[in-house]
Symmetry: C2
Amino acid sequence: MVHTPTLTYTTLDNMLGSQVFVKAESLQHTGSFKFRGATNAVMQIAGSGASGVCTVSSGNHAQALARAAAESGIPAAVLMPEDSPQVKQKATASYGADIELYDRYSKPQDIAGEEFAKKTGYDFVSPYDDERVIAGAGTVTLEALQDLQGLDVLVVPIGGGGLTSGALLAARELSLSLKVIGVEARESKVWTKSVAQGRRVQIPVPRTIADGQQLSRPGVNTFEIVQRLGASIVCVTEKEILKSLVFLYERCKLVAEPSGAVALAALLARRVDVQDKRVGVILSGGNIGIDRLESLLQQR
Amino acid sequence: MVHTPTLTYTTLDNMLGSQVFVKAESLQHTGSFKFRGATNAVMQIAGSGASGVCTVSSGNHAQALARAAAESGIPAAVLMPEDSPQVKQKATASYGADIELYDRYSKPQDIAGEEFAKKTGYDFVSPYDDERVIAGAGTVTLEALQDLQGLDVLVVPIGGGGLTSGALLAARELSLSLKVIGVEARESKVWTKSVAQGRRVQIPVPRTIADGQQLSRPGVNTFEIVQRLGASIVCVTEKEILKSLVFLYERCKLVAEPSGAVALAALLARRVDVQDKRVGVILSGGNIGIDRLESLLQQR
């Protein structure tokens, strides 16, 4: 695993009046934090005599699981949405996984995943709701807390909820009074609604540029952890996500995919009060083709 | 100073049949390795009672010197080419330096710099030929050699020659048989010609997208060091530079400006034989605006 760097920027600190640390999980193997959880799951499964692993994922977990399986020498099969980014489909295939496509707007991801697992006969590894995956995702926060003293706030993209749940568990283990904030696309609001209503709300698959957040409901385990340990949820607009992606490119010299840029977007749009605080921000992934970047920029 | 990460990529290793380590100086303060040399020079000058520092630079050294001066509390004045990237001019101004513009195609950089130094009355810090700047640039290689055991080859962008000279000096200090390769834009070839002829050849300011390499002749000190300690010089085309910049974005998740991408370009274009070798590649800077990226991509 790459112990990813936490980077600081004078300009950003001056803009926000706080000390900001950007944890660049884009520099993790396979370009996102997902490799941590996938590796943890695959290492445990590979020793158990399973015939292979499978999953359903819009891309980052797909790549991560495919590579983790290849390294452990077991087969992987992945169900991906037809409209998931080309660069993610290609990368997954490059690690030798079998890929099948489906229409994510006509079938919920969890149901599609269950059917796919039955069909393949492989062990299913959920992109976010598997406890081994959550534990792996938690190591992002463990590393950040190792590297940075006295962090007040940690701002995290929330899609399936693995990264946020992992952050909450890591902070609790270390008995820290760290405030964890999950950021989602306003076009989704599935976490905002679910937390407000105290139950896993189901919505139509949201249309957002943050393709890692196109989920119709929170995970069972991740929702339970988020509720029990208490993360705040904040929303950002499509424009704010894009602005953050450009800021990360120009000022931070980091490649972010839209879902990876949402946490910093919340800071730049002043949706989280971080004045005089020490703030960690997770850039969760950088899997974006240059053609997709170009077409996103044309939407500005 | 940021101890910048050296990153590895399975895809790259498989493509080239070697072990490649990318040293991301784009993640250095001010977005390039130049902050090392500028800081070293300014720290020595600030204690000497000088009234300020000045330089002539297309941008990365300008930003670096401006910030180093601001941190030491002394004034800085910078002469920049009119057609240097906007993002570099803005960043330099943001650190509080006085900026003056000139036409780089009608006056050689070294002469323009001499005149500017007389006018300002400040201590002149050459972007590459100052020994304090060369020593600072050498710390990139020192860090790489600390982090990586048994490197066979180090591939480095060569513009003024500070980074290459620094690399050669660092390798000599550690008594290593490291092969150092400087890469320049084929549209320039000023180093290729100078090394071949054994003297500092003067050419018209080259037109290349690698704006950090638009120099009409090598530095006096840097050329002497390159000759004496022996770096090989390799050229890359404009297309190869752009391809490398895109590869760095998509596969390495790193932001590179064109001059910063030339070293990897030489590897991707197979202009350096690295089969079965351990190879360090320096990505020297990432100062590029998203608008410039877009317009470069349209040239593809």
